[in-house]
């Protein structure tokens, strides 16, 4: 229903771009923000810096699973 109502709003052309209004503000925010199924990566439980994780791994005697990107994976710019 959410998708449909926004799709109705979106007869988008460069001459008529979409615009937010007070009545659809919440709908836009809900559409843009990720839902839980899109954020499964957060369920893994990621530490946010490598070196403290190395120190923790040494203390625990455990291996490290290291996910690294250009642009921090937890906040990619």
């Amino acid at each position: 229903m959410l998708m449909l109502s926004l799709a109705v709003l979106l007869h988008v052309t460069p001459q008529s771009p979409p615009e937010p209004t007070v009545s659809n503000l919440g709908e836009w925010l809900t559409f843009i923000e990720p839902v839980a199924s899109e954020q499964a990566y957060r369920e893994i439980g990621w530490r946010n810096a490598l070196w403290p994780a190395v120190e923790e791994a040494r203390q625990l005697g455990r291996p490290i699973l290291f996910w690294t990107m250009n642009g921090h994976p937890l906040g990619c710019t």
């Binding site: 937010p20 503000l25 990566y41 625990l60 455990r62 690294t68």
Partner: protein, 323 residues
């Protein structure tokens, strides 16, 4: 796709899981590399990488990837630019844990259970007083096109390039001068222009599909935001309206902004603040992955004041006991 896989999520609990920025750990540019040489994190990662099988480390190139490492940099598994296919990653993790079982007995590692950690935000904004979280997403362009959501039932084993159909991204901005967002009267007022320009340059970037640079000062053609405060005893509701136009000759953005907030006048802090920015983007630059999508198309940003979960420390981490 990878982290939605339940078997991968289960195996990840055998590891100390960590995410970090590749370029600050192992830059490709020689001048930038000099700055990190000798630092513990860089040397640790380098030692591990040089022990990898040939072809899996990408010497001199990007080090983006997924790596499974022993506590003292021992190679277990991993690959630069590791595939987004869950089956491949699962096999690598299983091999890593097989190697780990041999290593831990040889080296006498304790293999203590890994405490659960709550994923929060990058260290660069952790512990800051006022942090905005910005989500970006392409808006719908018709049946089957961009701007839909990832569907785990259909998309779990999709091809890598298909991510563009449901791509979204998250960015964070710690703001010092946030009090300029608090109205001083019951009339419509302009929010400080320099502040709005900073927000536009650093938050309203097309990173939906990939990394994108912030805007230069001369790319800002318009950056206006007004606010209207409606006080009611200790609480003031605020409405924000604005517009932003950015153009650097290679990419552009033209957006309308609308938002609201609740400001606690007694505690002198925002209880909530949310702004949406909607409009058209165009062009391509760097690694934003818009080379095949440079024509004007709708984009949306959702900006929210971020409140970390309770008991998250200043580094942005929260630890719980047990698995």
């Amino acid at each position: 796709m990878v982290w939605s896989d339940s078997e991968i999520a289960t195996l990840s609990r055998e590891f100390v899981t960590v995410a970090d920025e590749a370029y600050t750990l192992y830059p490709e540019h020689p001048e930038h590399l000099k700055r990190v040489q000798g630092t513990p994190a860089h040397e640790f990662f380098k030692r591990y990488g040089e022990a990898m099988p040939e072809g899996d480390w990408n010497h001199r190139g990007t080090k983006q990837g997924l790596y499974m490492i022993g506590p003292n940099g021992e190679y277990l598994e991993g690959k630069f630019a590791a595939s987004g296919l869950p089956d491949d990653i699962l096999k690598r993790m299983e091999r890593a844990l097989e190697r780990w079982q041999k290593l831990r007995h040889q080296a006498g590692y304790a293999n203590t259970p890994v405490p659960k950690v709550v994923t929060t935000l990058p260290a660069r904004v952790a512990g800051k007083d006022f942090v905005l979280r910005v989500h970006s997403r392409d808006l719908p362009r018709g049946e089957g096109g961009q701007g839909r959501r990832f569907d785990p039932d259909k998309d779990l084993n999709a091809n890598w390039g298909d991510f563009k159909k449901w791509a979204w991204n998250v960015n964070w901005l710690a703001v010092d001068r946030w009090r300029v967002l608090v109205p001083s009267s019951k009339q419509v007022e302009d929010v400080d222009a320099a502040f709005v320009t900073q927000l536009a340059r650093e938050m309203l970037i097309d990173n939906v599909r990939g990394q994108a640079k912030t805007w230069s000062a001369d790319a800002v053609k318009t950056a206006k935001l007004t606010m209207l405060g409606m006080p009611n005893y200790d609480v003031m509701k605020v409405m924000y309206r604005g517009e932003v136009e950015l153009d650097n000759g290679q990419r552009s953005m033209k957006l309308k902004l609308l938002g609201d907030a609740v400001y606690d006048q007694a505690k002198r802090r925002f209880r909530k603040l949310r702004i949406v920015a909607i409009g058209l983007r165009a062009g391509s630059q760097g690694v934003s992955q818009r080379e095949d999508d440079s024509q004007p198309s709708p984009i949306g940003f959702a900006i929210n004041l971020y409140r970390p979960p309770e008991s998250v420390d200043a580094s942005g981490q929260q630890r719980k006991s047990g698995k």
